[in-house]
Symmetry: C2
């Protein structure tokens, strides 16, 4: 590889997490700027008009969106395969990824993690109790009911560990940080599936890094990543202050 792969986005994001699991399992070295999207400066907006994370930059592309990035990494670094080889299973894996990236995102990320963890941490603002209650008591149980009908008793979603498992499991880290448990009596298959996925090296190796970043004040996060042995990008796309709520 000539130019190194650079990833912009905090490891606390489930979408960055998907890409980091891919890079780890495909053994692709990378540098990171742990940008929190609310801090994205105008230089970043020029690279990524939606100011979302992650963004991947390498010698050939400047690419936004975790699904597009994961597919690019699969195309460019095919081994080990993280998409099923069978056409129908691959389609199912992509659907599960889409379900997680849209609906599970809306409930777990936007209505729970953002309210319970992000708002107090970044702006010192209390969660909206109505939004949290509806997401926790109405929307999340429906998601877990659906997953319970989809996850296998043992093993992974579509055969070998794949994009489906990575995408479905990733937001549950943020659910935990929102101090919400998945009731193992009510959703036993899903609970065990999440444990299995997080025990996979793709996720397990990332866990200490994520925890350290999540506990660190924003201005010190780059230094903490370096102390933990990660390579931090020269570019820093973070503004000093977050945009207003």
């Amino acid at each position: 590889m000539s130019a190194p792969v650079r990833i912009v986005g905090t490891p606390v994001s489930p979408f960055v997490r998907k890409v980091l699991v891919f890079l780890r399992l495909k053994n692709v070295p990378f540098e990171i700027d742990p940008l929190i999207p609310f801090f994205a400066n105008d230089d970043y907006a020029r690279l990524n008009p939606l100011r979302r994370i992650p963004l991947l930059i390498d010698d050939r592309v400047t690419l936004a969106d975790s699904s597009v990035i994961c597919q690019y990494l699969e195309d460019r670094y095919p081994q080990p395969a993280l998409y099923p080889a069978d056409v129908a299973l691959r389609a199912r894996a992509r659907w599960l990824e889409e379900y997680s990236d849209t609906h599970m995102r809306d409930v777990i990320l936007v209505s729970l993690f953002f309210e319970i963890a992000t708002k107090p941490f970044i702006w010192g603002v209390e969660p909206d109790a109505n939004v949290v209650a509806r997401a926790r008591d109405v929307q999340l149980p429906k998601i877990l009911d659906y997953l319970e009908s989809q996850v296998p008793e043992d093993g992974f979603m579509c055969g070998d560990f794949s994009i489906a498992d990575i995408a479905i499991a990733a937001p549950f880290r943020n659910l935990k940080w929102s101090r919400i448990q998945v009731d193992a009596d009510r959703w036993p298959r899903t609970s065990r599936f999440i444990e299995r996925a997080f025990a996979h090296p793709g996720f397990a190796d990332l866990a200490p890094i994520e925890k350290a970043v999540a506990r660190t004040a924003v201005p010190e996060q780059r230094a903490v990543l370096e102390q933990l042995g990660w390579k931090v990008m020269a570019e820093n796309f973070s503004a000093a202050k977050p945009r207003g709520l």
Copy 2:
């Protein structure tokens, strides 16, 4: 082909449109149930938990989400290719699709088409003038500025006609039905690009069907499609009345 391909979703939807362009260009015969998502009944919710359209059913999959469906059709019916062969161009095409399916959807579909066309047509309710004004005067110009920086002077987005062109052009049909024009003086490249894309047989052949369906009352749409020579699915997932606004 053993079982025919079945598509659930109205041709008025830009997401159904993407899939219909794929089926047409790949010459895959299909049957359709022109479901409008607000009419989706409980049988449909069992097949597609988010009650969105399109849904593809064939001998191997029951598959939701237009991006997942288009990729499945590409994998199963590779010719003619509708994704670029080059890895970096393919990634760019997928990003443009994602941009259209998320941000352009939010502005053109949800804030404009839904307010201006869907609400009066289905519920007899007036548009929210504030939502429309913000989308038309603030958000849409930013989208067109971005597209103007991305579309080529001539030809298509990523070489041959591809998923990028199909996804980017598709919602502009709905913008037109919302009686909003793209100012060709302000965004000349984008205007010409949209015209070129809609002149491609993938879109051009669909135009009369879409127009006919858009002008027909919901209960008569299946009959109109049959009169126009389309095969309509035996299953009808439409309830008699739409869910409440």
